[in-house]
């Protein structure tokens, strides 16, 4: 059961950081609470102070990064539901929109936040995997100032990040794909959290071929696999096998890329499955994600339905 705690509701990041610094181990940052309160109810975490970040100015905003005018910044306290409903997200990062619709369940989506999801770094979650393919970086605020870290450096392992105890995750910034990118996000699993997740994005070059609007050649491929290794990872070897291919040749290359991805993960036996099964499923679902993305490149939506699978 939930033990008593003191709730602090600062309105500025400075105040919040000062509270975190002053209270030290006794405090935890609190946004949606969907992960934190669960752990507290189970007695696994027992902070005596919660620092609510939802009132901090800017933490609930979604906007374009002022500097680039192109990158998309999502405040740490933005809920999955707000991401799903944001016209800006849909316009700039449509796949982020559709994935937001499939995070956990509707109760979690209504209160759970993007920042909380990333900062908690549960290995079986969606956002970090997808964001790796969007060159995401996170903003960390502390009494010492502000720093920005690539997401891959921020997430260090299961429930482990580079965030210092007095640091606050302020926002995450995504680099939208070029408009001629076809992408898919696929997750598989029977439990409440996914067994594995695959994000795949194929940037096409429109100068040759018979694809949609004449685009045919894959000039850049991004593949990330989550939930299987200790942290979500970009699969460079798989990406290399896809680059510079004609989309028409993807079927063969998808198999090779899938095998490369399977070779690149580091699964363990656990409740979600045996290591060999999970490795094989990485191959299966990287292949499926690529084929779905390829179909989308042709302007088609794959009709295939797979059990225990969510396609976004």
């Amino acid at each position: 059961m939930l033990r008593p705690f003191t709730l602090h509701r600062p309105e500025t990041a400075e105040e919040a950081c000062a509270l975190l610094a002053g209270l030290g181990e006794e405090a935890a940052a609190y946004a949606g609470g969907t992960e934190l309160l669960l752990m507290m109810k189970l007695g696994l975490l027992r902070p005596r102070h919660l620092v609510d970040v939802k009132r901090i100015r800017g933490f609930g905003d979604i906007g374009l990064e002022p500097l680039s005018g192109r990158r998309l910044t999502i405040g740490a306290a933005v809920t999955h539901r707000a991401v799903e409903q944001s016209a800006l997200v849909r316009a700039r990062c449509p796949l982020v929109s559709s994935v937001a619709r499939h995070v956990a369940n509707v109760r979690v989506r209504n209160v759970g936040t993007v920042g909380g999801n990333l900062a908690f770094a549960d290995p079986h979650s969606d956002l970090a995997t997808l964001f790796l393919t969007l060159d995401a970086s996170v903003e960390l605020l502390s009494p010492r100032g502000r720093r920005e870290l690539p997401l891959d450096d921020f997430v260090r392992g299961p429930w482990e990040t580079s965030r210092a105890s007095d640091e606050l995750l302020g926002s995450v910034t995504l680099t939208p794909w070029a408009s001629d990118t076809a992408a898919a996000y696929v997750k598989f699993g029977v439990h409440e959290r996914p067994t594995l997740a695959v994000a795949a994005a194929l940037r096409l070059d429109g100068t040759t071929g018979a694809g949609r609007n004449g685009r045919d050649r894959i000039v850049e491929a991004r593949v990330a696999v989550g939930c299987v290794s200790l942290k979500p990872v970009r699969m460079a070897a798989a990406e290399a096998r896809l680059t510079d291919l004609s989309i028409g040749d993807l079927d063969d290359a998808a198999r090779a890329a899938a095998d490369a991805a399977a070779a690149g993960v580091d699964p363990a036996d656990d409740l979600y499955g045996s290591a060999d099964y999970k490795r094989e499923m990485v191959a299966v679902f990287v292949g499926r994600a690529l084929r779905i993305a390829a179909a989308r490149a042709r302007g088609a939506e794959s009709a295939a339905r797979f059990p225990h699978t969510v396609v976004a």
């Binding site: 033990r3 045996s274 225990h308």
Partner: protein, 761 residues
């Protein structure tokens, strides 16, 4: 009984408590608050098996706000043991903790937070012992013993049949034989055999166990409990506290699901003990993880050999079943015995040898769960039936039809003859699934059948009161746990007394008020309690007819009840008029009594089943061959219910049974490693969700009014669950050629089996 058409029985009337449930007004145990009520929390063993050398509760007791802190050793003022088969379970561990999660100490405090904090002030000195976590470990030579001594027998009538094997972990053995199975198997043309495993699964009732206990100044105890059988709970408490039955009152509000998990005492003994120690009312409500530490289904390993003649006639079945009943027997021995008794399913088998053992392990106690031992055996037999059909080159539907017991045929000497038409259920299931038409290339179909006995002998009593204004009160102790029994009892009384449903009130079970009913389980409430209500209502009817006959000067046989009145050929006497004539004033009431108590018989288990539950399931499945994920695309359930008192509720109940069956078939299993339960929360223990429901799910009913219950009804509600796993596995085998023997059919397990499939011959 008159032949007039039924007015409310047989009609799909909405449940009488629908509005209060959907508006959130229905009250459950945890909604109850009593003045001065304390809240309890339980300290549980972190070890599967440990000597409990010392429990020090002094610091907890001293904490402000704590009214009582108890350890097992403190319980010298009552008999701290309980259990329906053996009284082997202490309220709090005494000397030894036998499973992870066993209550070791408990606190009652001013609120839950204080109680929880006080638990941390309790020091327990454990000495971990080697646990036995599986059937294999428990049955090994020189296995550590879960129970060193032999516990005393519980309160069950057939306790004389309990046969423990001292010095082993076997707490009960059951044997049943007829003919000469060994010889018949030796002479059979085709013998199929294999061993099948059924996993430990939890009921996951939406409402976990809960109880509020209060002792009054006279030393009488009242318990509001989420229980399926208040009268069994009362017996346990009477023994523990040496109090007459009449001074213990068990009241049962709505239940948020039971499925067997709330049969027999669970939290009630601890709640009552704490309430006595705290000298104030105590509320004890389990969380979902604590429900996983309270009761589960008995896991099993079942080896079956079945012998057929070349022409398909089943001649012999030999079955060796081991059930893992966990750390305390609970009702496990009866699960084992009753399940094994019908291991031969709905088939005619001249030569039978059935042997079963109930085995203690250091895991959550195994108890009753929808199907009561039968799903474990049907999983084995019905899978083997399809293997046999393959070997005999026969259609699985035809092979079953050939061997079905016929209506009126003897199942076992002294027991009730078969009271339904299996052939009709099978034909309807086959037709609905389209058995004779080829399925799509990526689909496979399978069927399975089941037969189950209800508890016998058993007793149900009911009282029906007709009031001065013509309204009716039904007193009966069948528990409303979502299955709709309150509505069904309302319909029965309204039918017999010819009043609108809204004029009938069914009182919630309360052992101080509503009469004895053995248990709300075993699919028995409609047939047994419902029949008692019918008899009680007929008693009132006969009193009305007698009053009318006397006052109208007409023979009773020329009178009938209609629209709240006694009707003679030319005259009509309303119930208020009849009562006023009888009592000479506008007061007084007619009281009718119904007792259904068939008693002991020469049947093998000591009583003849009041009805046979019979059902057939047919599944159509697809499989994602790359991941091993099985999807049940279509499912048809056909149950032989005699008469559907309420087809709407029955359909809902059987749909629920099918979906619950999909749980242990495809998803559910309590997983243990290193003595710990790994998945005792809903984050990682996956029950079926709406999106796992087959896109076509049909529940049909065979109604020949051939049951012993009211209006020819039989029991229902368990039958639909039992064929699910073999029907699905048979469909998968017909689709892929792969035969799985271990449940659940998880994607990984199916994927491995598909990969191991020998290359196409």
């Amino acid at each position: 009984m008159s032949a007039r058409p039924l007015r409310v029985v047989g009609h799909p009337v909405p449940r009488v408590d629908a509005i209060e449930k959907v508006t959130g007004r229905a009250r459950y145990v945890t909604d109850l608050t009593l003045p001065g009520m304390a809240h309890a929390k339980v300290l549980r063993s972190p070890y599967a098996h440990a000597r409990v050398r010392r429990v020090d509760v002094t610091r907890a007791r001293a904490r402000p706000g704590v009214f009582a802190a108890l350890a097992g050793a403190d319980l010298t003022w009552c008999d701290p043991y309980y259990g329906p088969a053996y009284r082997d379970r202490p309220v709090l561990a005494i000397g030894v903790a036998r499973y992870e999660g066993e209550p070791v100490a408990a606190v009652a405090a001013v609120d839950e937070a204080t109680a929880e904090e006080a638990l941390e002030l309790i020091d327990v000195d454990y000495e971990p012992l080697a646990p036995v976590m599986t059937l294999e470990e428990a049955l090994a030579e020189d296995a550590p013993l879960v129970h060193a001594g032999q516990p005393p027998a519980g309160h069950f009538a057939d306790l004389s049949t309990l046969r423990p094997r001292p010095g082993t972990n076997i707490c009960h053995q059951f044997q049943f034989a007829r003919g000469d199975a060994a010889a018949a198997l030796g002479g059979a043309d085709v013998v199929v055999e294999d061993a099948y495993r059924f996993p430990p699964v939890q009921h996951v009732a939406l409402e976990p166990h809960a109880a509020v206990a209060a002792w009054d100044e006279t030393g009488a105890l009242t318990l509001w409990a989420s229980t399926q059988n208040p009268y069994s709970v009362r017996v346990e408490l009477a023994k523990m506290f040496d109090v007459p039955l009449a001074r213990i009152r068990v009241v049962v509000p709505h239940l948020g699901g039971g499925f067997g998990s709330k049969t027999y005492a669970k939290l009630e003994p601890l709640a009552a003990t704490l309430a006595r120690a705290a000298a104030r009312p105590v509320r004890l409500a389990a969380s979902v993880p604590e429900a996983f530490q309270t009761v589960r289904r008995c896991a099993s390993r079942v080896a079956v050999r079945a012998g057929f003649r070349r022409d398909g006639t089943l001649v012999a079945v030999a079955c060796d079943a081991d059930y893992d009943v966990g750390a305390y027997a609970d009702i496990g021995p009866r699960v084992v015995q009753k399940g094994t008794y019908t291991a031969t399913g709905p088939y005619r088998v001249p030569h039978v040898r059935l042997e079963a053992r109930a085995v203690y392990t250091n895991t959550t106690p195994g108890g009753a769960f929808r199907g009561f031992g039968v799903p474990q055996l049907a999983w084995a037999l019905e899978s083997l039936f399809d293997v046999a059909a393959d070997r005999l080159d026969r259609d699985p539907v035809d092979l079953r039809r050939q061997n079905f017991l016929a209506h009126g045929e003897e199942f076992a000497p002294g027991d009730t003859p078969i009271d339904g038409k299996l052939e009709e259920s099978l034909s309807r299931a086959a037709e609905a699934i389209g058995w004779t038409r080829a399925p799509a290339a990526d689909r496979g179909r399978g069927v399975a059948a089941m037969l189950k006995a209800s508890v016998a002998p058993s007793v149900s009593e009911a009282i029906v009161r007709l009031h001065a204004d013509g309204s009716v009160t039904v007193l009966a102790s069948a528990v409303e746990m979502g299955q709709g029994t309150r509505t069904v009892l309302t319909q029965i009384a309204a039918e017999v007394l010819s009043v609108p449903l809204a004029r009938v009130t069914v009182v919630q079970p309360d052992t101080a008020v509503t009469p004895y009913d053995q248990t709300t389980s075993s699919s028995r409430s409609t047939a047994m309690t419902g029949r008692a209500v019918q008899v009680a209502a007929e008693d009132v009817r006969d009193q009305l007819l007698a009053i009318a006959a006397q006052n109208l000067g007409v023979a009773a046989r020329e009178l009938a009840l209609a629209d709240g009145a006694v009707v003679a050929p030319a005259r009509r006497l309303t119930y208020p008029e009849a009562l006023a004539l009888k009592f000479g004033m506008s007061g007084g009431e007619l009281i009718g009594r119904g007792v259904i108590a068939p008693g002991r018989t020469a049947a093998p288990l000591g009583g003849s089943t009041p009805f046979w539950e019979m059902a057939v399931g047919a599944a159509e499945v697809s499989v994602d061959e790359e991941t091993g994920a099985v999807r049940v695309e279509r499912y048809v359930s056909v149950a032989d219910v005699g008469r559907a008192i309420n087809p709407l509720l029955l359909e809902g109940q059987d749909e629920g049974g099918v979906v619950q069956g999909l749980g242990h078939t495809l998803l559910e299993e309590m997983l243990y490693a290193d003595g710990h339960l790994l998945n005792g929360t809903l984050l990682v223990y996956r029950v079926p969700r709406a999106d796992d429901t087959p896109s076509e799910l049909e529940c049909h009913f065979v109604e020949n009014a051939d049951g012993s219950g009211p209006f020819g009804a039989k029991g229902a509600g368990e039958g639909s669950l039992i064929p699910v796993s073999p029907a699905v596995a048979n469909a998968l085998a017909r689709l892929t050629g792969v035969r799985l023997r271990d449940l659940p059919l998880t994607p990984e397990r199916v994927w491995r089996a598909l990969r191991a499939r020998s290359p196409r011959a």
